[in-house]
Amino acid sequence: MGVENKVSAEELPGRVIPAGNGANIVVTTLDKVINWGRSNSLWPLYFGTSCCAIEMMQTGAARHDWSRFGFEVARPSPRQADLIIIAGTITNKMAPVLRRLYDQMAEPKYVLAMGACAISGGPFFYNSYSVIKGADHVIPVDVYVPGCPPRPEALLDGMLLLQDKIRKENRLAKVNPIDGFDEGEI
């Protein structure tokens, strides 16, 4: 959807069904079904390294309740998770662990950087010998949620943005985000 039809309806008999990204109807319909399924049952990995994790817990708890959007099955194991919410500071010591957790997750996998520390190092950007200046130095990030820490509404908005992104995915054109990441191509 959202792609302009180059042929107008008058030139062709019957009803024109818009096929996004130049793929055929079967593939895009299948895309839609798969994306619908994926985007509505994202299983997040528990990954809280500092105070953002408190807001993440609050987002999962009764008042904000992320299970309304299909996030309720938070997993303690990366093998069973689709989404990693980086909730907190990533230090030089933690970076290899984060990378290993990401590598252990099954495809397709998504990353949400929550809060100033995960985006850029935040308050530890200057004069810190131990903090990574943004989680995207370690793994590719899909959605950034600013705040210090972000309120649960902001995190939910970021997660809904990720769902939107997944719904627009195209099976044929999709690339693994880690491909070329270590070589600095992204």
Partner: protein, 153 residues
């Protein structure tokens, strides 16, 4: 016991002590490093003072000197004192350990050694605590440089 009464007792032990309460809720005493161990021992052993609880050890880089700050409390008598000791040798700073007086100092002094490079004489197990054993330099010193990881402002 009030801060003034503590000061009256402690000031009789040595002539090289400086007392201040400025900008602090505690009585602060700065002492020369040679007298650190003997004064700390007296602070604990004197029955009226009875500083039996060392609740905080802080490494400090004042820019010129390196030093350590000890926060002491008496659990029974509910009074506090802060002991500061400075060392202006930045190449090879050494202080006497107080872990034979308060054994909690053992780990605190390992941490101070880890981040400030202050060596404690007679410490039973002085080694890197949080950083890797092969770490180069002492990262909480003001003049620490790490061009790969640090953005200086």
């Amino acid at each position: 016991m009030t801060n003034q009464e503590i000061q009256n007792i402690v000031s009789g032990w040595s002539e090289n002590l400086e007392f201040t309460e400025e900008g602090s809720q505690f009585l602060n005493v700065t002492l020369p490093k040679e007298e650190l161990h003997s004064i700390c021992e007296k602070l604990k052993e004197t029955p009226e003072l009875d500083f039996d609880y060392l609740f905080c050890v802080t490494g400090m880089d004042w820019g010129k000197e390196l030093g350590v700050i000890y926060h002491l409390e008496s659990i029974d008598k509910k009074h506090n004192i802060v002991v500061k000791v400075k060392n202006d040798d930045r190449e090879n700073p050494t202080l006497d350990t107080v872990c034979d007086i308060w054994s909690t100092a053992e780990f605190h002094e390992m941490e101070v050694y880890d981040f400030f490079g202050i060596k404690f004489n007679n410490h039973p197990n002085l080694k890197r605590l949080f950083l890797t054993p092969d770490w180069d330099g002492y990262p909480l010193r003001k003049d620490y440089v790490d061009e790969a990881n640090m953005v200086i402002k």
